[in-house]
């Protein structure tokens, strides 16, 4: 499998990165920054989990072309997959690009569909497709603008600290994703009171590392934010945007990008541009899209990340 970073990774991590491509059924146990792969059925942490949540991303309601002319149907199927889980997730987080074009009816469709999800709460954060033309007004009106009205927020759940960041606003010509100084100041203050042994989970739409800047897959000021997170024993960063599973371990920080519920995009640097991967083998779309299940075991820093494709 194609991975332009394999050459600089130690053997074990190289193997793990490859496993991340294998699709549904791979269980990720993340402890102290080192990931351990196992099969879903033998995953002790999954069985002992105090709680679990599901990440959904990049639904792109309003997209209407190959390889998925009906992203409403595939989002509905993704929700059905969540509802079929043996254990109900405490919450769902949608990590952005709910809509394709920031249209009110596209947001309303997502909100309606997610009412069918069997979960306690749905958290949302915007992708760049959700803030077109109005700087996110239509999005924030429906899904909340966080404590300060700028979209970012935090919450605590069973001893895990969650931070939702917005890196899709005020993007600059020639730049990448952008957090900005106001958000950085908020994050600094937010994390200051948290003990280093508290597991931290960060949500953002765009990747928080330089995954492939030529395609805009990165956040220009993410290093600043990550500097605030390095003192923690376990940090898990979950994002969307690139419509495929990629993983990176950097000290105690583990990054995971998620699949889309609508359509896949090419692996970094393969093909002329990002955008929908159009020429999928017939009937195989569902192998490339889906949702992510995350479980946490009480008293540990372990977060188990499981990918579930629709196929």
């Amino acid at each position: 499998m194609k991975d332009d970073r394999d050459d600089v990774l130690p053997g074990r991590r190289r193997f793990l990165r490859c496993m991340a491509w294998a699709g549904a059924g791979t269980l990720w146990l993340v402890k102290g920054g080192v990931a351990h792969a196992g099969m879903l059925a033998t995953g002790a942490a999954a069985a002992d989990a105090t709680f679990g949540f599901v990440q959904i991303s990049d639904s792109h309601i309003g997209f209407h072309q190959a390889p998925n002319p009906d992203p409403v149907a595939s989002l509905r199927q993704s929700i059905a997959l969540v509802n079929a889980q043996p254990r109900r997730p405490d919450f769902i987080v949608h990590t952005g690009d709910l809509s394709h074009l920031s249209k009110p009816e596209q947001f309303d469709t997502v909100a309606e569909l997610l009412k069918e999800a069997k979960t306690g709460h749905v958290f949302y954060l915007p992708g760049e497709h959700d803030v077109i033309g109005d700087d996110g007004k239509a999005f924030f009106t429906r899904f909340g603008g966080g404590a300060g009205g700028n979209g970012w927020y935090n919450f605590d759940h069973h001893g895990v600290h969650f931070v939702a960041l917005v890196n899709v606003r005020h993007l600059q010509a020639g730049g990448l994703g952008y957090l900005g100084s106001e958000q950085f100041a908020w994050l600094k203050q937010d994390l200051a009171g948290i003990s280093a042994s508290t597991p931290v989970v960060v949500f953002a739409h765009m990747p928080m590392w330089s995954l492939y800047p030529a395609w805009g897959w990165g956040t220009q000021d993410s290093a600043q934010a990550l500097s605030l997170l390095r003192r923690f024993g376990s940090v898990t960063v979950l994002n969307g945007h690139i419509h495929q599973i990629q993983q990176k371990v950097e000290g105690t920080i583990t990054f995971h990008t998620a699949r889309s519920t609508a359509y896949p995009q090419p692996a970094p640097g393969t093909g002329p541009a990002p955008g929908p991967l159009k020429n999928l083998p017939a009937g195989r779309l569902h192998d490339y899209i889906g949702v992510r299940d995350v479980r946490h075991a009480r008293g540990s820093q372990v977060l188990a990340v499981t990918e579930q494709s629709l196929g």
Binding site: V131, G133, Q172, A173, P213, G216
Partner: protein, 113 residues
């Protein structure tokens, strides 16, 4: 196909004539200049036009793009879906840099002489 236009010109005036809902069709053959958007690039990335020239962007990608003026020097486009067009007329000489507000790595320049 959806039209987003300030002023239409050249070959598009013809297509517009068939589009009854749009009232402002100009039959005057103003010089038209095009920038194609393909594979997340503005092509050409740098376009030179005379003062008063009208530039029309056409999105050929499956992804939407947004023509956004750096420093608000001309009106930004709405989201351009596949095959959407957007036009702007440049009266004053100068160098106008623009980018895609949702894919900021996409940058282009209109030089008005």
């Amino acid at each position: 196909m959806r039209w987003n236009s300030i002023l239409l010109a050249g070959p598009f005036a013809l297509a517009l004539a068939a589009h009854a809902a749009t009232p402002a069709a100009s039959t005057k053959a103003a010089p038209g200049y095009q920038v194609g958007i393909r594979n997340f690039h503005f092509m050409p990335a740098k376009l030179v036009v005379p003062a008063g020239g009208t530039v029309t962007w056409i999105n050929h990608d499956e992804e939407p793009h947004v023509v956004t003026s750096v420093g608000d020097r001309f009106k930004n486009s709405p989201a351009l879906d596949t095959n959407d067009h957007y036009s702007a007329t440049f009266a004053q000489p100068g160098t106008y840099t623009y980018f895609c507000s949702i894919h900021p790595q996409m940058v282009g320049t209109i030089v008005v002489r």
